[in-house]
Symmetry: C2
């Protein structure tokens, strides 16, 4: 069923911010409002009145049933979705000359769709919906925290499977296969980012993937997992060494471990996102790695893998105040020493008034021996 | 290594079309030019001279080594990638007042990135790079066809695993787990779309996903797989019935099977994409399902899951002439009978002068018994 309370809260903010309608094109907000996902979500939430779903006729009866018939109008033409959206929008606009339509400007909104929409609606003023949605989405309801925690449990199952598979001579992609499979079987619905298995020089990558590269003895291997459960993500990253770690590998990992601990310590209600960065960077500085620090060690997480505050995407988010109810990660950015290797450790947390509650739980160790025993 | 010949061909077309620089933001074109992928590809190809990669400093030495040092300039700041791109662009522009920059306007280009870029470069005219790239990408080299074929083999392994797992009582997501795992182990590097396991009323969906829904006896189950291998995709879709199919289920599937056969028959060099649609629709019409036909039964496939011609995304592509060397699918759109169920069968083909060569091979049957024996 659609979440009438969330729709009403969004509409109230839309009226405050002067947004006439919100054109929902992304999975995260669609799930947040309607409690289920579609492959290509398309909905319009006017500032007053019932939302409108633009959907394929084959899905019509199912959508009416699952969302509640009286509150939804369903459109039928496929491939003409944009035209449907435009027609609906004209209906909302009525005789008005200009109308302000909000759209999410994240990674999930394709540029060409927005272009088509603007061409078809030259009089419409398109604005970023972030001022309406960010605030609503950032503070999680208890049911949302439970889903992030469940995704965190799934991530830990995946990480254990990866640790079990990881040894010198195996191929990165085969390690990814085990992690991916274990997460699906544990209740994960795919991942929000590709499974990262970055070994050797690839451990220095800012992001990652899994390739046909063979993992050599002594390679750092960064495993980064972001499973989804009913739309909600958790992020868990660990760095292992294939075979026996050297003392300098242990030292580098220890720097990151201490930086993450400092970041978690700084992640308190009332602090700013940049304070978390500063705490982690101080550890990097003390270890002589200050120039290797990549700003943005923490980000919001929920229905989107990176959501407000997301300082690596939106630098101004470093000024955002951390508040009770947020779900955030610590350990986002890699400590890369080119020619030597890279380390990253990341976990997901719930910010409460009294403490920072981990939503991912997995040992921090370079060694995979205990999973392979 | 970067593909100097492809870059030169693109630059020649850029000069013809009046594009001063191509800002590469999507995986498909990045892989096409540079022969490897990055999680967030960023490159600039000026109309003359060497391309410029904008990359994380930790990846610098690796990129220089793999692409050839003398032809690549690497930038270092992270999170400031857009700023780097802008700086490079100003360097290319020099004293010119206006410059025309091409960008791919597909699903892969995030609206906010384009917005940021336009704000930072108010004097830059941003145009769709499709007139430059579509023509180059559409006609596949032999090495590309081999990779699509390899992806097709991987898809067949995944489909067999799905058929083995599929029976009344199992959960959609567990079937997806088996298909996904089998494809990774067979050499797939993830999938271009989520694994679709659409059962029961969900078989009518235009697109799909895998949920926690239990598959009931008698459910139609649409399994749609688009694995990647080294960037290249193949698309294989089959519809099964959990348990024993009824005669009316067999009839509906037979309509689709004949429509797909007609589409393949029509897919000849010199024909238009709309001719393929017409051939399939004629079969739907003859069976009394004409009003259920969704236009766009065929699309190009390669480094992108749907690439030119892609009539369901760009309706004008239905006028595109099919030519020797294209790789295309037949069977894209679902035949949905609300309240009864939906059927879809899709395969991938190479268009040659003399015949249409299948790049996916899997029996067309509603029954899973032979895989479960």
């Amino acid at each position: 069923m659609l979440n009438a309370q969330r729709i009403a809260r969004a509409q109230e903010r839309m009226r405050e911010k002067g947004v006439d309608a919100y054109l929902v094109l992304t999975h995260d907000d669609y799930v947040w409002f309607f409690g289920e996902d579609r492959y290509q979500p398309r909905a319009i939430i006017p500032k007053m009145g019932p939302p409108i779903i633009v959907a394929f006729r084959g899905e019509e009866s199912e959508i009416r049933e699952s969302l509640g018939a009286s509150e939804v109008r369903v459109f039928a033409t496929v491939g003409q979705q944009i035209k449907d959206v435009v027609d609906v929008m004209h209906g909302i606009i009525g005789g008005h000359v200009s109308v302000t339509v909000g759209v999410q400007m994240g990674f999930g909104t394709p540029a060409f769709l927005l272009n088509l929409f603007q061409k078809a609606n030259p009089k419409v003023k398109v604005v970023d919906i972030a001022p309406v949605m960010d605030e609503l989405r950032a503070i999680k309801e208890a049911s949302e925290v439970a889903l992030v925690r469940r995704a965190g449990e799934i991530a830990a199952v995946g990480m254990a499977a990866a640790a079990r598979a990881l040894r010198p001579g195996v191929v990165e992609n085969d390690v990814a296969a085990e992690a991916e499979y274990a997460m699906r079987k544990a209740g994960g619905h795919g991942t929000a980012t590709p499974v990262f298995v970055n070994s050797g020089s690839r451990s220095c990558w800012l992001h990652g993937t899994a390739t046909d590269k063979r993992i050599d003895a002594g390679d750092f291997v960064v495993i980064d997992l972001v499973p989804r459960h009913l739309g909600y993500c958790a992020n868990l990253c660990r760095t292992f060494v294939a075979g026996e770690p050297t003392s300098s590998q242990r030292e580098l990992q220890d720097v990151y471990r201490r930086a993450q601990a400092a970041a978690i310590e700084a992640m308190r209600p009332g602090a700013r996102v940049r304070d978390v960065d500063a705490a982690a960077k101080a550890v990097f500085d003390g270890a002589g790695h200050g120039d290797r620090f990549v700003a943005g060690i923490s980000h919001g997480i929920g229905l989107a893998f990176e959501e407000m505050p997301a300082p690596t995407i939106h630098p101004l988010d470093s000024g955002v105040e951390i508040r009770e109810g947020m779900t955030m990660t610590a350990g986002h950015s890699v400590l890369a020493v080119p020619g030597f290797g890279g380390v990253r450790i990341e976990d997901t947390f719930h910010v409460t008034a009294s403490k920072i509650v981990p939503l991912t739980n997995f040992p921090i160790t370079l060694e995979t021996a205990s999973w392979q025993a």
